[in-house]
């Protein structure tokens, strides 16, 4: 069964090759240029197939537009479209030799490609990225050790480390890495860790390890698998909520709701999130939101109250809220509902982490970013090259430089009284009349 994409590839590929051949054999230079434009359009189509939309647009505007217009312009300017029959090559063996050599090259390249000597294997999976978040309000700052080596130093409450790639496993036999948490500044060899856990290393993934204590103060890890793939719409954000709010009573579950507009339908965002649980990530439109975390079951009462009387004093209080928080588009947000004890009172404390999602591969955004960061210097060099080319073109085609007659020639020409040419007097007259 022939897929649509493959069928399109074959059709457009045939057109591209046909256009190139026609360009080769056409006698008229203008026809050749038009066939080349057709070929460039086909290549632009292939760029679209290869998920490079920006390059496809650049191909159409720069190549098929600007460059070919320049070609056509010069062809017309020189009158080169009226081909004099091409002079027979000076060497009779040149044509067959050229054809033979190119066919040989094509054969070699074709065999290499078909035998898959071209390395078309899948790229190596990248090491997973890992970050650590400290969400224990009453836990002192910690140091994080990975496989016995210091990895993150002095991580205080509400702080998050940068995403770091896990190193390759040195010993193939060992499965996974060991992440250990020590109190900050303590000798890791002489003391027991506060928490030590083997972490599974999935491939090509992003993990957030949240250090949080339960009501008894025992630390544990909660793992959030981040999703940094681009969202379909860049005006959307992705929200994940983690319940790290310790409570003494049995039911610690919370519900997350958007209280900006209580009347709107999708009021509840996350239902019944138990302590230590991670919600599924929600895709929401970018904008300002006031999100609140309610104790489980309290949300309906709040909704009823809000619906009946806007001025009512709410008996139902959220345990935590994010007031008028801006949710940027194309970001992955992680909201950790946490708490710390202040003066004997448990107070809620929010940790909101935001990561920009990977941009779509091949998009103008992605290209622009690498062009203006990593490839800034080559970009400047190219710009300089264009400038030099521009100046060079002006110098080269300046007629004053090449055809300016010498003083003697000019004088000679003026004096000559060839029929049809103006005499000196007539010439002077024409100049003075032009001047009026």
């Amino acid at each position: 069964m022939l897929g649509v994409e493959l069928a399109l590839f074959i059709i457009v590929g045939a057109i591209a090759i046909l256009a190139a051949v026609m360009m080769l054999v056409s006698e008229n230079a203008v026809h050749a240029a038009l066939f080349l434009i057709l070929n460039f359009a086909c290549v632009a189509f292939f760029y679209l197939m290869l998920s490079a939309p920006f390059l496809a647009m650049a191909q159409v505007t720069v190549y098929a537009g600007a460059i070919m217009v320049l070609f056509l312009f010069v062809i017309m300017l020189l009158g080169a479209e009226k081909q004099t029959p091409e002079s027979s090559p000076r060497f009779s063996w040149l044509s067959p030799a050229a054809v033979g050599l190119t066919v040989l090259f094509l054969l070699v390249a074709g065999i290499a490609i078909i035998r898959s000597d071209v390395d078309a294997s899948e790229p190596e999976p990248e090491q997973p990225l890992v970050r650590i978040v400290h969400a224990g309000g009453d836990t002192p700052a910690v140091d994080v050790y990975l496989d016995g080596d210091l990895w993150v130093e002095d991580l205080a409450f509400r702080e998050a480390s940068e995403f770091q790639p896990l190193p390759d496993l040195e010993d193939e036999a060992v499965e996974g890495h060991v992440l250990a948490i020590y109190e900050e500044g303590i000798d890791s060899e002489a003391n027991q860790p506060l928490l030590s856990e083997a972490i599974g290393a999935g491939e090509d993934d992003v993990f957030t390890y949240i250090v949080m204590p339960n009501a008894e103060g025992i630390l544990s890890f909660t793992t959030v698998e981040g999703n940094l793939n681009a969202l379909e719409d860049t005006n959307e954000a992705r929200l994940t909520v983690v319940n790290a709010f310790p409570c003494e009573s049995g039911n610690c579950a919370v519900e997350i709701a958007d209280v900006t507009n209580p009347d709107e339908d999708p009021f509840v965002l996350v239902e019944n999130l138990d302590f230590g649980e991670v919600s599924v990530s929600k895709v929401i439109d970018e904008g300002d939101y006031t999100l609140a975390a309610f104790p489980a079951g309290a949300i309906e009462a709040y909704q009823e109250l809000a619906a009946t009387d806007e001025e009512a004093e709410f008996d139902v209080e959220p345990v935590a809220d994010l007031d008028e928080e801006m949710f940027d588009g194309n970001h992955s947000l992680l909201w950790i509902v946490s708490a710390n004890t202040e003066g004997g009172l448990v107070r809620s404390s929010n940790i909101l982490l935001s990561v920009e999602n990977d941009m779509q591969f091949g998009s103008g955004q992605a290209l622009g970013r690498s062009l203006f960061t990593r490839y800034m210097l080559p970009f400047q060099a190219i710009a300089l090259l264009l400038l030099v080319a521009m100046v060079g073109v002006i110098v080269m085609t300046n007629p004053l430089e090449t055809t300016k007659p010498t003083r003697r020639e000019r004088r000679h020409r003026r004096m000559a009284n060839v029929p049809g040419n103006p005499t000196v007097d007539e010439y002077r007259q024409s100049i003075s009349s032009n001047g009026d």
Binding site: F9, Q59, Y63, I67, V74, S87, A109, P123, S370
Partner: protein
């Protein structure tokens, strides 16, 4: 990345074919403008291979490379056509076989 429907080898093969056609144009045609157009065809074939490999490795660097090639091609076309204009003005021809003033 899911397996693409059109294999990379096909794109590379197509790019090789286009490149060879461009080479033939350079070797067989005698008109300087047509030789120049064939060089553009070769540059495009190379770009196509670059973009195909960029998809394979999911590397946006190759797209930057293609962008630079396009820019250099634009500069090259401007200079080359200016040369052709200047030559045809003095020699009244664009046939490369008639341009042998550098021949020893």
């Amino acid at each position: 990345m899911e397996n693409p429907e059109v294999a990379n080898e096909l794109f590379v093969l197509l790019s090789a074919v286009l490149f060879v056609l461009g080479t033939m144009g350079v070797l067989l045609r005698r008109n300087a403008i047509l030789i120049f157009m064939s060089i553009e065809l070769m540059l495009n074939a190379a770009n196509l291979a670059l973009v195909a490999f960029a998809r394979q490795w999911q590397a946006v660097d190759a797209h930057v490379m293609v962008f630079m090639v396009m820019t250099v091609a634009a500069a090259e076309v401007a200079v080359g056509l200016a040369l052709i204009v200047a030559i045809s003005r003095s020699k009244e021809t664009t046939d490369v076989d008639d341009l042998h003033s550098l021949q020893g």
